[in-house]
Subunit: 295 residues, 2 copies
Amino acid sequence: MIKIRDLQYLQAVAHYKHFSQAAEFCHVSQPTLSGQLIKLEQHLGLQLFERSRQAVLLTTAGKQLSVKAQAVLNAAIDFEQTAKELTDPLIGELHIGLIPTLAPYLLPRIMTPLKNALPNMDLFLYEKQTHALLDDLSQGKLDILILPWLENMAQFERYALFDEPLVLMAPTNHRLINQSTLVLADLRGQELLTLEDGHCLRDQAMGFCFAAGASENTQFRATSLETLRHMVISGMGLTLMPELATTGLQNGNLVAYRQFDDPKPFRNISLLIRPNFSRLASIQKVVATVKQEIA
Amino acid sequence: MIKIRDLQYLQAVAHYKHFSQAAEFCHVSQPTLSGQLIKLEQHLGLQLFERSRQAVLLTTAGKQLSVKAQAVLNAAIDFEQTAKELTDPLIGELHIGLIPTLAPYLLPRIMTPLKNALPNMDLFLYEKQTHALLDDLSQGKLDILILPWLENMAQFERYALFDEPLVLMAPTNHRLINQSTLVLADLRGQELLTLEDGHCLRDQAMGFCFAAGASENTQFRATSLETLRHMVISGMGLTLMPELATTGLQNGNLVAYRQFDDPKPFRNISLLIRPNFSRLASIQKVVATVKQEIA
DNA sequence: GATGTTGATAGGTATTATCTATACAAGCGC
DNA sequence: GCGCTTGTATAGATAATACCTATCAACATC
């Protein structure tokens, strides 16, 4: 296969019509350039130049190949130029995956500052359940996950972002809303509404509830957090709700949210990347932005 | 500057997502490929791959550069392919220059067989006076000249094609047409019609005439051989005419052409190329064709 | 925990691009 | 005609580097 250097020599001679001048232009000695071009001609099996003392002429083949050579060089220059632009880790695309019980409540709070922190990056957002997110991250379809950290995610590099408390959501007149203190143990004997299978929030919330002695309403399972919220609003029961999904909402006076006293149940929202992900600078920006906005 | 080999390595890994398999595909050892790609990454100042045991992933930069790399490789392949097609010396362009006192009479006889002998070449024909032809040949604007050879053309490589006699053209009733023998010396005392300056035929014909003791009609000078012919037809005098310009013509009975007895005046029609012209095979075809057709 | 897979590393070798010095050929000037 | 200049090719040495084999390190799998 030809070498780009040889094509540069070819183009230099095509331009200067003079070996010595072309060699100077290429910052090599004249014999070097001569020798390499002779080799190129041998490799191609044809003559590129008609050499004479007066002037170096391009043969017909030389003229045509000079055009092709320039095309190769242009492509190579384009390659290098693109590479140069890509060296800035804060330029390019960032594909971010989040879980459905987090995305709708977190994104409105971080997207504007994130775009400000990374003005030259194109941010792509994906909302999937945890297992799908982990697959996509492994396969490189995603660059970043933002989700509650679990121990089976140890294969990825983790940046803890914040702890999100799980709060009690219940009708306003419910006993648990109105008593002076609220701890997990108060859930004993209660029946909680839950999300359908696949949501990690379901597993986590149910973990806390079962540990506290509560049970699950098996008749209805919500397909989303908003469905779940409306089930509570319509008086079908109570549930645990991540705190971000409870702020800035007006649900009339039918339901109320209440924090547990210590020890609070919570999920640790973390940012995951593949351990050898290259654009760490952009990751740091994301981590810093989220921490600052949710602090 | 990047090397094409490295881009091949990049593309192989991008395809196989596996260093060892990519190395095998490129017919090099795995450490070689690994090492070269590390160097490439260092040269570019960015990471192209995320390496892990499970799978090699392209970084965002890697993906974008892989596209650019393919563009470079495609251009390089196109270059080599073009070179391959150009190795056939019987393909391409041939720019042929002829003089005005030869072209109109020679070309009709050789063009068809020439096109048959070189079916894949594009023949370009130019008609200029000798000095302009020689300049163009030197500068590479022309590849071949076909003209009467003169000693000042020794700088070029010469293939003698044929000797073209110069014949007497005179009114039918002219004494020289009708005498039993005709030699140059018979021109003594005659006044000949000539071409205008710049035509090599003028210089050659006048050379013969003056040596024989003839003189030149200085009142009229023809701008072309056809003008000259019509001057003779209209009875203005006599002239020397190259033989090719006398065949297949019906000029009524007003004028006649007559060969000289030995020693015949003639001009040697030769083919000239630059000494280091590369496509000699095509030249040989032209030489052979002309010789055969004019034999 | 042994084994296999995979990419990186180490050290040596072979290739080759490059250099300097010089030869060679062709014009130019005296 | 004889140096002198110009311009390219050749020769021989050197330096850069692409490449190899052998091995390591990390991880996965059984």
